[in-house]
Symmetry: C2
């Protein structure tokens, strides 16, 4: 079942990092985009492969109306204002609300194409934005792509962390190293009275990074200005302290 | 590809409702459970089939440690304190953090078993809690189970609604009626200064229920007390105005 996908000769990638959260809706794609943006600001060449074929958000985050272009049998990625190169199933659709109601083999084949047929060029980092769950797609990406590291995204909620724990166990099963955990929606600060709300902190049980002895890379607030900036196509203007500090402390 | 699954003779179900959101993390499972709880309080017999085989949460929501029991080749569902009968892949696991790293055909076969081999008994309502996306599982459930209605769950965020729109289009493709939309995380009220925050309201674009002319069944707050109650196994004590009003207005 395990089959290794090889990059084409026009793609040289120094490090491939899968962004994973077995739970949906924790902000995985947003975190992926913010990491890419911060690395770009630091002069790194970054690509994003949106492996969430069924529920793609990466091209929406970078607010592009571009369509994918082919070249000599290869696929050219789309570039953001900052020069982040990305590919997403959304770029293939005529109408943005067209559903992709594909059976699993088709989905897996498109991911293979996004990896081997895209001319990624020289990249310092390729992020793979995985769909939720521990099913076909995450398994195929971890087994068949040359993934060097995994970043897990979670929220503080016990129920969410119980599901993210399944992703951690899956990474262990395929012997892929987890760089650490980014906790999203860690707190919310009321802009009127400054009260800090731990919206999703549900118990004093040890967090998954404690339970599995993994580095905590960042804790990010739920900032109500963010969804607005993101939905209006301004993700490349966002600076988040937690993301910046993590990228600065990261030894490239 | 379309194949119809038949209930066994010991299951009589008046109405089967799929709870769907092509986007993960919008609170779909919580909404499913809260609808079931409110209907139970109104004397209805309710079951929940957790079709999110890879990321199951229903048994976690009802805080059960029970394991599934077989009987004469059939499967008995687990019962909550209020008498809600449910089945979930989580009930089959030895360790709660065991990942289910199954390929798609196995997942689909388990859903079939959960529908045809479970002794549901007499039910007024069977809710099918779908996984995120518009892939294999939602397609199979909508095509092969006798689904009478769909309830879509969303948040106010444009980006989320763009993905939920794909689910609406998918329902149209298979000619299944959508009962309406439940909007979750509509607002948050600071308990110190009472400011109401529209956390995920990102634009004044028409909402999907306006765009697709669907009934808005409820708008639910992000209530920071809720995750705590849920994670400590007290979901059957929760009363939410929006849920109660919707159930009361619903002609059974």
């Amino acid at each position: 079942m395990k089959k290794s996908f090889q990059l084409n000769a026009k793609s040289q990638i120094k490090q491939t990092i899968a962004i994973m959260s077995s739970k949906g809706g924790v902000g995985k794609s947003t975190v992926t985009a913010l990491l890419a943006v911060e690395l770009s600001r630091n002069g790194k060449k970054v690509g994003i492969l949106d492996a969430d074929i069924i529920g793609p958000t990466i091209s929406r985050l970078f607010a592009t109306q571009a369509k994918v272009v082919g070249q000599d049998g290869f696929i050219l990625p789309v570039s953001s204002a900052l020069g982040i190169r990305f590919i997403s199933s959304q770029l293939l659709l005529d109408q943005s609300d067209d559903p992709i109601v594909w059976r699993s083999p088709l989905v897996l084949d498109l991911i293979r194409q996004f990896y081997v047929d895209v001319i990624w060029g020289d990249l310092d980092y390729l992020f793979i934005d995985l769909p939720p769950g521990t099913g076909d797609v995450p398994m195929t990406v971890l087994e068949s792509l040359n993934v060097n590291n995994i970043i897990m995204v979670t929220t503080p909620q016990d129920l969410v962390q119980d599901i993210v724990a399944k992703g951690i166990q899956m990474a262990k099963m395929v012997n892929k190293p987890i760089l650490g955990i980014i906790e999203n929606y860690s707190y919310f600060i009321c802009d009127q009275c400054q009260k800090q709300h731990a919206l999703f902190h549900t118990s004093d049980r040890p967090s998954i990074w404690q339970k599995y002895q993994l580095p905590l890379l960042a804790q990010l607030p739920l900032d109500s200005a963010l969804p607005k900036l993101i939905d209006s196509g301004k993700i490349e203007t966002i600076e988040m302290d937690g993301i910046r500090q993590f990228i600065q402390s990261w030894r490239f």
